[in-house]
Symmetry: C2
Subunit: 255 residues, 2 copies
DNA sequence: CATTCCGTTCCGCGATACCGAACAGTATTA
DNA sequence: TAATACTGTTCGGTATCGCGGAACGGAATG
């Protein structure tokens, strides 16, 4: 059914997450619906649902079955374990308030960027890539800042695995181009994203590193391209972010 | 191995969550550590970790294996699916700001209360039961408000399953006492918690219901018992919460 | 009453998850 | 340098158990 039948893995767990992820992206499903859509027998789905229900990872609602909040519980522990999470949260909120735009903090996991914090400023469009959602590293300012700031060996591994299919007409489409850009970012200290991931969206990002030099994540500010331009975009925002990242690094080092 | 071998459930999934929950409450573990502590063979843990790692639900860090942020991703979808989540979030923040104390929004799931939103006021002690963490329904103001406001049949089911072991010396210890209290809450419209869950902590809670009359969750404000007393605690806070809950219900009904 | 959804249960077979033990790195010890 | 003690890894062999399919029951719609 699912392709990669690596013999050294647990099939039942694969199918279970197959089911869970399907349920997660819907709003209330029935057993038969899942069975037919995913190509499992009804009894299989039923057995998995029984298990998941008993453990609290799936709940029954008036509109059907849904993923349970227990996922949030374990997911939250993963989130707060990120280094300096509270300080970072405050800084993100400050940046959003000062700039009026949207600010976020992204960490890398499994070759993708993951939203850990996010805050909206006054003028920010409240379009919603929620906490926990994932973005490509090579097509976002925070992602590129992280790649530029991390250990070269590891960064090369991640770049190796990147899917360079263009997302917009401005997306970086090959690794050479990306390496050049990362080099430039290392020299500057900050990164730009000009509609590389979403049309009409510009952003600037700065990496945050721990005392051992290892990158923790990256701050970024994003907004409509018509506002994100000129010296505000190219000088003032980078300066603000660099300063904030610096403060963060100091605070994290002393904690 | 694990006791409840309900034949209609998937064993491999049980062991998987057994492992995940163990990993979640630690900060970096090794395979052998998990194997010995949980009583599985090393190879079993290894196989599960391989599976989970490949799917992104467990990650390798310098300090060992940890639960991955992918749990946050699916957990977050469960969270934002809660009715009126954005409006509720704003209200919780408003309440925290106005009162200076800690405010939260709790929903019921699987017979427990789950934190969905939480905000700190100026004076609030920032002790941290994070988003997603669970509290007993019968020993918290929000929990009791929910129980009082929900369908009697369902509430009876939940009460049936409650473990009435005392948490503090003020905890409600039997169902009769609880039923009386719920009756009083229904008449008043709001609930109190006087050190029933945590010594030194008082709280007041009000349920929020949807247009169909079904309870969605409950708002509550909590703080040190020395501040939470007198007319402020017994009249002004309830009034504020009732007003907010009312607004919320109207907003949710019209959306 | 008939139809069509839903969830549930049962059973038999083949796949597979499990354990145990041997293997292989890596760091810390003598 | 060698030995120890940790890691994580791999490999079979066996009994388990997860799987599909079909038959059942229950609720809602016609």
């Amino acid at each position: 059914m699912t392709q990669t039948n690596d013999p050294a893995t647990v099939q039942a767990v694969r199918t279970m997450f197959d089911i869970v992820e399907y349920v997660a992206e819907r709003d209330g499903v029935t057993i038969t619906e899942v069975a037919t859509d995913l190509g499992y027998a009804k009894s299989t789905i039923h057995r998995h649902f029984s298990t998941l229900h008993e453990l609290g990872y799936i709940v029954e609602t008036p509109t059907g079955y849904q993923v349970g909040l227990r996922f949030l519980e374990v997911g939250h522990t993963a989130r707060v374990r990120q280094r300096g999470h509270r300080m970072v949260k405050e800084k993100v909120e400050n940046i959003a308030a000062e700039t009026g735009e949207r600010a976020q903090f992204i960490v890398e996991e499994h070759g993708e960027g993951v939203y850990i914090h996010r805050a909206f400023g006054e003028r920010a469009v409240r379009t919603d890539p929620g906490i926990g959602s994932r973005i490509p590293l090579h097509a976002t300012s925070a992602g590129k800042a992280i790649l530029a700031s991390m250990d070269e060996k590891r960064s090369a591994e991640l770049i190796e695995a990147i899917n360079f299919d263009p997302i917009t007409e401005f997306t970086i489409t090959d690794s050479e181009q990306l390496y050049d850009e990362l080099e430039a970012i290392r020299e500057r200290g900050y990164s730009f994203n000009r509609q590389e991931n979403l049309n009409g969206l510009h952003a600037v990002g700065v990496a945050v590193s721990g005392p051992d030099g290892e990158v923790i994540g990256a701050l970024s500010v994003s907004g409509p391209s018509h506002r994100m331009q000129g010296t505000w975009f190219e000088e003032e925002l980078p300066k603000l972010l660099l300063g904030t990242a610096n403060e963060l690094e100091l605070n994290i080092a002393h904690s």
